[in-house]
């Protein structure tokens, strides 16, 4: 069996483990698992607008999954996407809402601002890692919390919409990506996200620098022996990841109706970064696998809302299932057992 088929079976089995555990939990608290899951599927794929809405949910997830994957490919456990999402969204809200530019240029400017802000926030753990050897699990989590308070402070104090304290000034119409259809919140920003995923894929598997990055991740000793500059690779991986996460945050501001702004609670961008970790692991840390897995998780999130409405199960249960899937994927012996039986 080819390797890619095997990893698809692995991911599918882990997903099944997660769904079964979720079902047991629902049953334990008196819900109807089958009805809930049916509502989830219908809510996610039942109609064309639902399908497009699923893709709208998938867009930022594909980007934050990319952040985690590029980290893992370089041997890093970068869980800082969450904070980079906040800061990217903040940059987008500022350039989109407070700067006036001609139509085309404004779109380019907000996109670049989001990516640059995300990358800048990722630079901190990158530098701490190469200068002081601070483990990125600790530095990125701390950076996430600092970003949370910093972003809410700036959003509320300097960018707030007059008369509506709960969000920032909406971005100007010149800084909004066109909405694709009337009845779904999918915008053209999805194509930008897709483009970035393909670009990173080409970088990792088509260029020398990308090869060096993967080498550092898979065999650091060999990489050092071959003269790869590890520090440069670490910084590159963090910056790429930060760009991607920043765009994920920005996409919710300049590419997602009806808000076109950043909520003061960060409610429209929060948890995107953490969800990206699960998406990336199910996608086997591959940019293209991540895309497929993002659509799956987009379906879980969009369908989860319908499930909450129909079956009364809180949509957050979807996140619990994600976590269980990640735990299942972490256990290689489980997979070895399954494969030995065949």
């Amino acid at each position: 069996m080819p390797r890619f088929a095997r990893s698809i079976v692995d991911s599918a089995t882990a997903l099944l483990v997660g769904l079964v555990c979720g079902g047991v939990l629902m049953r334990a608290f008196g819900y109807q698992p089958m009805a809930a899951y049916r509502a989830l599927v219908v809510g996610a794929f039942g109609s064309v607008p639902d399908l497009l809405e699923t893709l709208a949910f998938a867009t930022p997830l594909a980007l934050t999954a990319l952040t985690f994957s590029v980290g893992v490919r370089a041997g890093l456990f970068n869980i800082g996407a969450e904070g980079q999402v906040y800061v990217g969204a903040l940059g987008a809200a500022f350039v989109g809402g407070s700067v006036l530019l001609p139509p085309g240029a404004h779109l380019v400017a907000v996109t670049c601002a989001a990516m640059a802000c995300g990358a800048a926030w990722a630079l901190l753990p990158a530098l701490l890692r190469i200068w002081r050897g601070v483990h990125e699990v600790i530095s990125t989590i701390m950076a996430n919390w600092i970003a949370f308070f910093l972003t809410t402070y700036v959003a509320v104090t300097f960018l707030g919409e007059p008369g509506r304290a709960e969000r920032t000034r909406p971005v100007w119409p010149t800084a909004r990506f066109p909405v694709l259809t009337e009845d779904a919140s999918l915008t053209a920003v999805a194509f930008v996200a897709l483009g970035l995923c393909l670009l990173v894929y080409t970088y990792l598997w088509g260029t020398r620098a990308g090869y060096e990055l993967r080498l550092v991740g898979s065999n650091p000793d060999a990489a050092r022996y071959a003269g790869v500059r590890t520090r440069r690779v670490v910084v590159a991986s963090f910056l790429l990841g930060g760009m991607s996460a920043g765009l994920a945050g920005g996409s919710q501001v300049f590419g997602r109706p009806p808000a076109w702004s950043l909520y003061a609670t960060l409610g429209n961008v929060a948890t995107l970064g953490f969800d990206g970790i699960g998406v990336a692991l199910v996608g086997r840390n591959h940019p293209l696998g991540g895309l497929l897995s993002a659509i799956l998780f987009g379906a879980l999130q969009h369908g989860g809302r319908y499930m909450e409405y129909q079956a009364g199960v809180v949509s957050e249960l979807v996140r619990a299932i994600t976590g269980l899937v990640v735990v299942a994927l972490a256990v290689p012996e489980l997979w070895r057992l399954i494969w030995r039986r065949r």
Binding site: G133, V134, M142, Y153, I277, V314, A320, L324
Partner: protein, 323 residues
């Protein structure tokens, strides 16, 4: 940076903070009181994780254990009408999660960082689900004030008995680790599992034990958050404290007593934040966003300064398989 330089930097930092507090007009005792409360969960979890990592197992899932045992702790406290029993409930939950994660690591040879992160993500989703399932109310649950663990009154500050427990646990862990055969075995299993195995120590079983013990301590810490400190349960109750505890472990270089010191430092930072946020005349002058950042900034700074001089067991984070 030498150890002495790092310690000196910490003292300078503390002096600067004390000076700033005095300028702001805060009572040092109220800061200390809040600081000791904030120290307690960090110290319990960090000391347990020190033992665990000495034996060669990493538990990134402390945050998830905090979250879940906070919920089960309150639930058992209500079921038995006692906050102390609630702490035991939290400990059992933590022990179970630690045992499960340990079994995955030791026997399943799991990637420990990914498995732990999976636990964190799962807890993030499970807590809102459990809040609805157990109390039918979204996101928050307030329990009867009688269920909070009573604090001891001393002339200067009020101290929770759990704080004293945390200090005793740290002292005990230090003694066990450095003065007993068990401690010697724990260290051997982390440094040289092959040699330990050859000399008759059961590597897997000992690692499972430390993982369970670490989980139980983190569970007490998680149940302490609502029952001994906040007096209520919200869905983001741990707020990154599991990771701050990991920061303590790194700072301490796996030494329980140093971990206690680190927990006090971070707790103090949080105590300052808490005191600033509630003191009239001060809270208007300092935006609370910056005050809330303080514990996280402190963690980042201290870990940055302290790291580099620490040495970790040779096999930390890696499963052991007999050849």
């Amino acid at each position: 940076m030498t150890g002495r330089g790092g310690t000196l930097a910490v003292y300078v930092l503390l002096a600067a903070v004390a000076f700033a507090l005095w300028r702001l007009g805060l009572a040092l005792w109220s800061v200390l009181e809040a600081g000791l409360l904030a120290m307690t969960p960090l110290a319990l979890a960090a000391v347990g994780e020190c033992l665990n990592e000495k034996a060669g197992v990493v538990n990134i899932g402390l945050e998830g254990i905090f979250l879940l045992s906070a919920v089960t702790g309150v639930w058992t406290a209500e079921a038995f009408g006692s906050g102390a029993v609630g702490l035991v409930g939290g400990a059992l939950t933590g022990a179970l999660l630690g045992l499960g994660l340990g079994a995955l690591s030791v026997y399943g040879r799991a990637d420990q960082v990914i498995a732990g992160m999976g636990l964190n993500i799962a807890a993030l989703g499970l807590v809102p689900f459990l809040l609805i399932g157990l109390w039918a109310f979204p996101g928050i649950h307030l329990f009867a004030p009688e269920l909070t663990v009573p604090r001891l009154h001393t002339p200067l500050v009020q101290i929770s008995p759990v704080t004293i427990l945390a200090v005793l646990v740290a002292l005990g862990a230090h003694l066990v680790l450095h003065r007993t055969v068990l401690g010697f075995r724990i260290r051997a299993v982390g440094e040289a599992p092959e040699a330990a195995d050859a000399s008759g120590i059961r590597v897997e079983r000992l690692r499972l034990f430390t993982s369970t013990l670490g989980g139980a301590l983190a569970g007490v810490a998680g149940a302490f958050l609502p029952l001994g400190w906040f007096g209520g349960l919200v869905k983001e109750i741990s707020a990154g404290r599991g990771f701050i505890a990991l920061g303590c472990v790194v700072f301490a270089g796996l030494e329980p007593l140093l971990a206690l010191g680190a927990a006090f430092l971070f707790g103090f930072a949080e105590g300052v934040a808490f005191a600033v946020a509630i003191t009239p005349g001060v809270k208007e002058r300092v935006p609370f966003y910056f005050v809330n950042m303080l514990p996280y900034v402190t963690t980042l700074l201290v870990v940055t300064v302290a790291i580099g001089q620490r040495r970790f067991p040779r096999t930390v984070g890696r499963p052991y398989a007999r050849e």
